[in-house]
Subunit: 393 residues, 2 copies
């Protein structure tokens, strides 16, 4: 369980297989984001048909609605959502640090105001672990202190160092939860009682921070690995405002030093080219809301760049959205109908373009994997990126 | 083609089979409404899985967006929507007469202002036929003059008589269109050119009007039948504000005099009890937006009446929405998750409840048919209505 095997590597790019309690994930892989325990507008069946192997749930949003105790009472996220495959939950760190003016950061944790009802709430490393345990995903993420992409050295250092201190607390709490599950003696910390759900089988992944500062990134990496071993390692705090070459440099700095037999998860990334750029640098897992967000706004990803589905040129077109795509949208509906759905503002349009965009990223992962396995990744990737960028994106 | 056979009748209630170019429809049957060439929020596949046999498209809305010429250029409504089964289009009459203050009625037709862009447009019996021909549904409806449910005798008489005069013009135009398709000589009326799409196989159904006035209803019936024969007959202008017993009285007045081997279509009706009340009085086909409208607002139909899916009682419920239902929603998702989708305003919620509500009405038709075929309709219907009304609806 929680084992990761590299099936083949070509340069830094890897194809691997991750075993989780709810199934295996063949990497490289894109994880659709199920913010509110639902990939926006899509049923679990829709997501399954995109070929997605694992989905992400947002701890911050699920804590607010419906609340982890409701999810737990209903049997955990898998029962709640009817998604029976692997799941990962983030820690809520990224969300609470994004709440401008609605939060107070202290060493103990973050006090924030719910954007739903204004109530004051506190998220600490321990609470983040408890909530994720109650949600019951296969993978829980450590509670981290995220700083903006352009943060100064001092601000980035503060966040990075706190993330390491919080990692100790996350690890301790997660071990208590697992120990309780296994019937072991539990030495409790601050909380009087641990949440139930003894059936949960869950692993904890740490997050490397440090902003755009190489020194800090290396110190974060070293501090994280010292606290291991880990079944997977995430890189956080990228794609938050910094330039793409900076992101690439940071990834290149980190992946050579990361353990081979643990998946590397680049959080919150990305757009189609980001996947290929990340894979080339040794990243195995990605998540991003852009697929569904673009879908809702009528922007479809094609091998030749982006397409605005509202465009007048599509009006009477009987062609498929992307003739090279095998998704439900592209194999069923003519472009003219997809455009019409956006013109009359029917929610079916949002769903069909979101479906395509997710399939597009999932398929990009599948294609990358096939090319890694056959040793042709780098040439294929170069060609793919050339064609995509030539489309003007 | 366009043949209707009564498989069995029990009292006034009938089970029949209607043959149409795109398939057969077993009656009694509920037709989901695809206002904008889409059953709100649902894919053609979703609708197919509800067991719906035929769907309705709105000529008024499709004329405005995307326009009949676009639909025609894309191969007609079936190609456009990817719904390959039988379809019916209304004539636009009901919609233009509902546009308060935005219309001018003359003998030639109705001038109205588009609710989309304010442009002035005219719908005449001939235009309504041309547009529906271009849309290419299996069944076109005559262009009628609809009056509000509480209209005076004089107002209702004016609408009813005009509907008959317009029926002559609709019939003549529809015959010209069919004759052109069959390569016959065409004597054109007002328009210089008939629209193309020679492949269309379409029948025209008249609409009986007359408001809540029995005399007028009988005169409308007689005038309509004189102009026949018809492959189906619709009853319009009901469920537009009059009391239910009045609607029932009008139906009872008409159905005994209608031809046995033509389906009777009660337009714009209904809610679950309306289906059973209509079937008991000899109605074969129904359409109504309530299934999807209620679905969008989180109101689900159950055998025991309506349920507000937002209700706090559903919060941690792992029970299905309707344990007796076989739809995707009820066989897949727990109530607590459906409620959650509405609380976080994810469009998947609207879709899942719409799906259930449509399946609920489609299944009610299937159940009614089975009970008619086995001779047990009236007892079953009485029991069903008793249980439904006892639920407080």
């Amino acid at each position: 369980m929680f084992e990761y095997v590299v099936d083949r590597a070509v340069g830094a790019a890897r194809a691997g297989t991750l075993s989780l309690p709810h199934g295996t994930v063949h990497t490289p892989a894109f994880m659709p984001v199920g913010t509110h325990a639902v990939v926006r507008g899509l049923s679990a069946g829709d997501v399954r048909r995109t070929g997605a192997q694992i989905i992400l749930g947002n701890t911050y949003h699920l804590h607010l609605r419906p609340g982890e105790s409701v999810v737990q009472a209903m049997g955990g996220l898998h029962q709640f959502t009817t998604w029976s495959g692997p799941m990962l939950t983030d820690s809520g760190g990224f969300q609470v640090f994004s709440l401008e003016g609605l939060r107070r950061i202290e060493e103990n944790g973050v006090e924030f105001q719910s954007h739903i009802d204004g109530t004051l709430r506190t998220l600490t490393p321990e609470r983040a672990m408890d909530i994720q345990w109650q949600l019951g995903a296969d993978i829980a993420m450590a509670f981290d202190h995220v700083v903006p992409g352009q943060s100064s050295f001092d601000a980035a250092r503060e966040g990075m160092e706190r993330t390491l201190r919080w990692l100790d607390r996350c690890k301790e709490r997660h071990e208590q939860l697992a120990s309780q599950r296994d019937g072991g003696a539990v030495a409790l910390g601050s909380a009087a009682q641990l949440p139930g759900r003894t059936a949960v089988r869950q692993t904890l992944w740490p997050i490397i921070q440090g902003g755009i500062h190489d020194d800090l990134r290396v110190r974060s990496l070293e501090g994280t690995l010292e606290r291991g071993p880990w079944t997977g390692v995430a890189i956080g705090g990228l794609s938050v405002g910094e330039a793409k070459p900076v992101m690439h440099r940071v990834i290149e700095l980190l992946t050579p030093a990361l353990p081979v037999n643990a998946p590397r998860y680049l959080m919150g990334v990305g757009f189609p080219p980001d996947l290929l750029e990340g894979i080339a640098r040794g990243i195995d897992l990605f998540d991003c809301v852009a697929a569904t967000r673009n879908g809702r706004h009528g922007t479809a990803w094609l091998p030749t760049g982006r397409l605005n589905v509202r465009g007048a040129a599509l009006k009477s077109s009987t062609a498929p959205l992307d003739p090279s795509c095998d998704c439900e949208t592209c194999t069923t509906y003519p472009r003219g109908y997809l455009r019409h759905l956006f013109m009359v503002e029917d929610i079916l349009g949002l769903r069909l373009i979101s479906l395509h965009n997710i399939r597009f990223l999932v398929r990009l992962g599948e294609q990358a994997r096939a090319h890694i396995l056959s040793g042709t990744f780098h040439g294929w990737s170069r060609e793919w990126l050339g064609r995509y960028y030539a489309g003007g994106d």
